[in-house]
């Protein structure tokens, strides 16, 4: 069991090192194939982890004091790492991390498969694949870390490869733009993690340990003073990653300039680190301080929902639009966490997974459209995609409907549970405020629908006579079908059977 | 002899050296001023040794070290001055500004 977890942590890292060590002659196809095999193995390993975890360790709602219902972690490895500082190499998984690990493994695997045929124009696939594998290892590490410092290290490991991916393989028409986007991304995220590290140190000063299991069982109590400062620092630091309005400014640029696989990983996996951190660290470790800041967190999340949706309505670039839609969706997740209720928490966890799947699909589609037209500007692409690329147009419509939260598809359940959580927040929170947030967030879903319909209208529909098909634009290729169908299937499956995930979390 | 006299002399010597290093233009003079400063320190060491009398004569030992060091240092320094003279045709410290930060930025 713990061998599997160690395996899926070490395998991509070692594989990446091996890939760099290999002679240069390795072809692009072969590199992608190598990546696909490695990430496929990781996917298998992560699925094996799934079966044997149950319950959510040590979280039993904020109302009751934490720690009564400690459920054991699975796949634990615990050893000293930096003894003088009290830092341990402590990893393990429970039911909130396993789905995220599987999602990470799945998206990385799909990105590698996708790269078999479709590669950025710059080439250098060997390095790209290696960087993807490093990101995978870092993210899985962050999702399984049970030590604050280890979490922080894994959180940071992910950053540099992503920076390189945007900087090297990004939009090849706009060199200055992609450099700026990559730099903004890395600087803002590092700024956030610095604040988060300060928060961790404050926690350490108060509790004397970095160990998450111990911290969860005997949390840092008190809603004022040092715990409040620690909670604020951790929350702001993670909010940069989530990203929460108004710290979201790095996101649209980074997504718009990143290559397709980079966008998919960034949106599908990296953003989840922030929300996972909020659920894993902020809520259980600093329960009282979290209650103090939760209404503000909820308020900013609600603003993010509205501001993100409104900004989407004004976008003229497909990738930027989808990136901004993430701001709105992550706002929902923030609202769910800030409600501190079981429904809201489960909704946030569900929406995490659903957003990873659906936005991954959306970015794949946007990348496909961009590859075919050599631009992602709506005005240059033209309209009537239904006539030119009927299958891709239909899939885009499907993904948009899923993303706007149509019941029966995966996007709905998360948002529904979050709104339910906001309707019925934890007893310690001001209910009337949350009702206002709920209503505003509900209107946000209408705005979400509005911008996705606008996208469909401006991109897919229109008079084919004015927008003749270009000669090079081929419809859905086989590799795209193979890569996207798991995401489509999962979207529908989770939509009609939410219990698949909800049962995993059980009664929190 | 009161301790203060050699110390005062050392201060005077040191200040002369500092002045020479900071204000003189000729590189050889700067090196000589450097020697002045080192010797001021030597004087200090010897004076404190005589005052402290710890039996190991640490101060005097250190002074010998400093003299050795000064010899090595003056060797290197003169070599640099020689190179400067060969390259630029003068030994003017003010005019030797190869380390200046130019306006055009590398980034």
């Amino acid at each position: 069991m713990n061998a599997i977890l160690l395996g899926i942590l070490a395998l991509p890292l070692l594989a990446a090192l091996a890939l760099w060590a290999l002679p240069i002659a390795l072809g692009d196809r072969l590199a992608a194939l190598y990546g696909a095999v490695v990430s496929g193995l990781v996917l298998v390993g992560s699925v094996l982890l799934w079966q044997r975890t149950e319950g959510w360790f040590a979280y039993s709602g904020v109302q009751q004091r934490l720690g009564d219902s400690m459920r054991p972690l699975a796949a634990v490895t615990d050893g000293p790492w930096i003894p003088p500082l009290g830092v341990r190499f402590h990893i393990g998984v429970d039911s909130i991390s396993v789905p995220l690990i599987v999602l990470t493994a799945l998206l990385t695997f799909l990105c590698c498969i996708y790269s078999l045929k479709i590669t950025p124009r710059i080439g250098r696939m060997r390095s790209l694949i290696a960087l993807l594998l490093v990101i995978e290892a870092g993210v899985i590490g962050a999702f399984s870390a049970m030590d604050l410092v280890l979490f922080f290290v894994c959180f940071e490991i992910v950053l540099i490869p992503m920076w390189l991916i945007i900087d090297i393989w990004g939009d090849d028409h706009d060199r200055a733009g992609r450099k700026r986007a990559a730099t903004t991304f890395v600087l803002m995220t590092v700024f956030g993690s610095a604040l988060m590290l300060l928060g961790f140190l404050l926690v350490y000063r108060q509790a004397g340990t970095f160990d998450l299991v111990q911290l969860t069982n005997s949390p840092v109590l008190g809603g004022h003073g040092v715990p409040l400062a620690a909670a604020l620092l951790i929350a702001v630091g993670l909010a940069v990653k989530v990203p929460l309005w108004p710290l979201h400014i790095w996101l649209p640029d980074a997504h718009a300039k990143a290559p397709t696989v980079g966008s998919v990983i960034l949106a599908g996996v990296l953003l989840k680190l922030g929300t996972y951190g909020l659920i894993r660290i902020l809520v259980p470790v600093l329960p009282d301080a979290t209650v103090t800041i939760a209404p503000y967190l909820a308020g900013f999340s609600t603003v993010a929902i509205i501001a993100g949706s409104l900004a989407c309505l004004g976008q003229t670039d497909v990738k930027r639009l989808i990136a901004y839609s993430s701001v709105g969706h992550m706002g929902f997740i923030g609202l769910g966490i800030a409600s501190l209720s079981e429904a809201g928490m489960q909704g946030a966890l569900f929406a995490n997974i659903a957003h990873g799947i659906i936005t991954g699909l959306l970015f794949f589609l946007a990348g496909a459209i961009k590859d075919r037209h050599d631009t992602s500007d709506l005005r240059t692409i033209g309209r009537a995609l239904y006539a030119r690329l009927p299958r891709i147009g239909a899939l885009l419509t499907f993904a948009c409907l899923a993303s706007l939260g149509l019941p029966g598809l995966a996007g709905f359940w998360g948002e529904m549970l979050i709104l339910l959580g906001a309707y019925n927040p934890a007893d310690s929170l001001p209910r009337a405020t949350y009702l206002v947030f709920m209503v505003i967030a509900g209107l946000g879903t209408v705005l979400t629908a509005a911008y996705f319909l606008r996208l469909i209208r401006n991109l897919c529909q229109g008079d084919p006579a004015d927008n003749p098909a270009s000669a090079f634009a081929v419809d859905l290729s086989r590799i795209e079908l193979i890569t996207w169908s798991p995401l489509v299937v999962l979207t529908v499956l989770l939509g009609v059977w939410p219990g698949l995930l909800l049962a995993q979390w059980g009664n929190l | 002899m009161p301790l203060v006299l050699p110390l005062l002399l050392a201060v005077v010597l040191f200040c002369l050296g500092v002045y020479g290093v900071l204000a003189r233009r000729n590189a050889v003079t700067i090196l000589m001023s450097l020697e002045l400063m080192l010797n001021a320190v030597n004087l200090n060491l010897v004076a404190f040794d005589a005052w402290h009398l710890d039996g190991l004569a640490t101060g005097q030992t250190l002074a010998v070290f400093v003299i050795t060091l000064a010899a090595a240092e003056i060797g290197l320094g003169l070599a640099i001055v020689l190179l400067l003279f060969r390259g630029h045709g003068h030994v003017d410290a003010d005019a030797a500004r190869d380390l200046v930060e130019h306006e055009e930025s590398p980034t």
């Binding site: 549970l417 509900g442 509005a450 | -």
Partner: protein, 588 residues
């Protein structure tokens, strides 16, 4: 190939629904739940049930869907695969709503219908009006659905269950009950296009006519009526909600009937009449009595038959003539062609209009009569004000309905003697009308694949009136017949004089569309611009400013790098001295 598969699947699925309805007929009501998962104290999952209401609605949906699928076989040729697939999905979603016992399963069907409706309205996505109509339909119903979702929360959390069969109004506190039902009502109003969320339905008409028949007449818009009937115990337990419902229904039925009186396109007239007829059903429900519920469901069934029929007839006109605008149809009519060539269509459409107008002997007459009777009973026996208001407005609406039906029938199919072949009142819409004469020789009757469903539905539009058993209150029947005459006579007299006065306020549909545009669409556009600019010029500016201040600072510090070693040393010495002094001060 794919199109054929979907055609077969579509027809097969709707026949299957009829079969299931037949099998379930008379079976004792039961519920089954599945795929449950618990979230906190609540259980979220799915459940289905069978009872009379389910069977009734399944049968209605099945029959109308079968007619529409068969009709579409010959009506629609381009993009047939996606069309039939979506219609099938739509039918499945409606069936889900009908059988659902879990509010969430119901919501899934409810919103999937909305999405299918959106996709089907924009079936002709080349057309601008289809695109904007589809977006409008989806957004307005979605706005209602947000209220619906919140209503589910309020009721579900209040009652501790999301199962419809377990919702017991006696165990929910009155405040929660009223709030919950009012919120559900928002969703119902959006879905059934009642005032004030009515403007999407007329704009949904650019979709293919069979879709209008299925979605915008017989099933989806009727889902609102179904929902209230399903949750009738809960709704009728809240007097406030019922009053609100009555007010909405009465305002809507008159509003929509007035709009229909001034519309100049067959499908638009029918769309407004749908809104108006749905409002009649709601008014019957708002009585809060079992008779009212019965009357509403009876009217729902007959309405599904004759409105489906009328939309399919309009589809024939569109298919054979190419347009359903009065002005175009008049060009054929003035040569006397339309009625003679499209004989079957003419007869069936006459039956449909007669049923809609409530001409005695047709289904619409009986069902409307039941509504009036229920209102009368309620008003007379219980002395309720709602009953009187409903009675009066349904009566008035009956007259209006008769007026616009007669107007539609006369102007589309008959030459006006007074005009001697001129276009008459619709000329001003099209200045070229008199010059351009259509080639009437190519006009021919539609294929039998399309006419078959028409005949079937026409039979239903007469016969369904008698299935409920004849129990007429002769006074009310006589009264409503007189009201119909009051409606028909002015229409006839106006037509025979060749006049069609259309008040501007009615033609603009009371300006609500424009008001909404000004109140909501324009501000949202402004806000979106503001948001984009705010991100770029405010939040982005701060981030850029941080970057720039770093660069500026580095440029400033670089100036110290003079290259003069002695300057550096001076700095170092000053620094050391300063530190030494500082150390001395601190040590003191």
């Amino acid at each position: 190939m794919i199109a054929t598969v979907w055609r077969v699947a579509g027809v097969g699925f709707s026949l299957l629904l009829i079969l299931i309805a037949g099998l379930l007929y008379g079976v004792a009501p039961e519920q089954t739940s599945f795929l449950n998962s618990s979230v906190g104290d609540l259980t979220i999952g799915f459940a289905v049930r069978t009872d009379d209401l389910t069977v009734l609605l399944l049968a209605v949906v099945g029959v109308v869907a079968t007619c529409v699928q068969v009709y579409s076989l010959s009506y629609l040729h381009e993009r047939a695969a996606s069309y039939h697939a979506l219609v099938t999905l739509f039918t499945a979603a409606m069936a889900t709503v009908v059988v659902a016992d879990s509010l969430f399963l119901l919501l899934i069907g409810w919103e999937v219908m909305g999405a299918c409706s959106y996709l089907l309205i924009s079936h002709y996505w080349e057309r601008r009006d289809a695109r904007s109509g589809a977006v409008k339909a989806f957004l307005m119903t979605r706005l209602g659905d947000v209220g619906f979702l919140f209503g589910i929360f309020v009721l579900g959390v209040g009652a501790g269950t999301f199962r419809i069969s377990e919702l017991d109004p006696a165990q929910i506190s009155p405040g929660v009950l009223t709030a919950g039902t009012l919120l559900l009502l928002v969703g119902v109003v959006g879905k059934s296009a009642q005032v004030p969320l009515q403007t999407w339905l007329p704009d949904a008409m650019p979709g293919p006519s069979p879709v209008s028949a299925l979605i915008h007449a017989a099933t989806m818009v009727a889902a609102g009526v179904f929902l209230i009937a399903r949750l009738y115990d809960v709704f009728s337990a809240s007097a406030t909600t019922m009053t609100v419902l009555a007010v909405i229904a009465c305002v809507t039925m008159l509003f929509a009937a007035l709009c229909a009186m001034a519309a100049v396109e067959v499908k638009r007239v029918l769309a407004w009449s749908t809104v108006s007829q749905l409002a009649i059903m709601f008014s019957a429900l708002s009585l809060g009595t079992q008779e009212g519920r019965h009357a509403a469901l009876f009217h729902l069934v007959t309405h599904a038959a004759f409105k489906g029929l009328l939309f399919l007839c309009a589809g024939v006109l569109l298919h054979q003539v190419g347009s359903a605008a009065f002005v175009v149809l008049r060009r054929y009519t003035r040569r006397g062609k339309l009625r003679k060539t499209l004989r079957v269509t003419f007869v069936t459409m006459t039956i449909g209009l007669a049923a809609l107008a409530g001409v005695p002997g047709f289904a619409g007459f009986f069902s409307k009569d039941t509504v009036l009777e229920a209102a009368w009973e309620h008003a007379h026996k219980d002395g309720s004000a709602i009953g009187w208001v409903v009675l009066a407005s349904v009566g008035l609406t009956a007259a209006f309905t008769a007026f616009y039906c007669a107007r539609l029938w006369l102007w589309v199919f008959f030459r006006t003697p007074a005009l001697a072949g001129a276009m008459g009142a619709f000329e001003q819409d099209d200045p070229m009308a008199d010059l351009e004469d259509p080639d009437t020789s190519k006009l021919k009757e539609a294929p039998w694949l399309m006419l078959g469903p028409l005949v079937l539905l026409a039979v239903a539009a007469i016969g369904l009136g008698y299935v409920d058993g004849l129990h007429l209150n002769w006074v009310i029947a006589l009264g409503s017949t007189v009201l119909v005459l009051f409606g028909v006579l002015p229409a006839y007299s106006l037509w025979s004089r060749g006049a069609d006065p259309r008040p501007v306020v009615l033609e603009r549909e009371f300006g609500m569309d424009r008001a909404y545009h000004g109140l909501f669409v324009v501000p949202v556009r402004w806000l979106s611009k503001l948001s984009v600019l705010g991100d770029r010029d405010v939040i982005g500016a701060y981030v850029r400013a941080v970057g720039r201040s770093g660069t500026l600072a580095s440029q400033g510090f670089r100036l110290l790098q003079t290259g003069n070693v002695q300057t550096y040393l001076t700095g170092a010495v000053v620094g050391v001295v300063a530190l030494a002094i500082l150390a001395g001060v601190i040590a003191r």
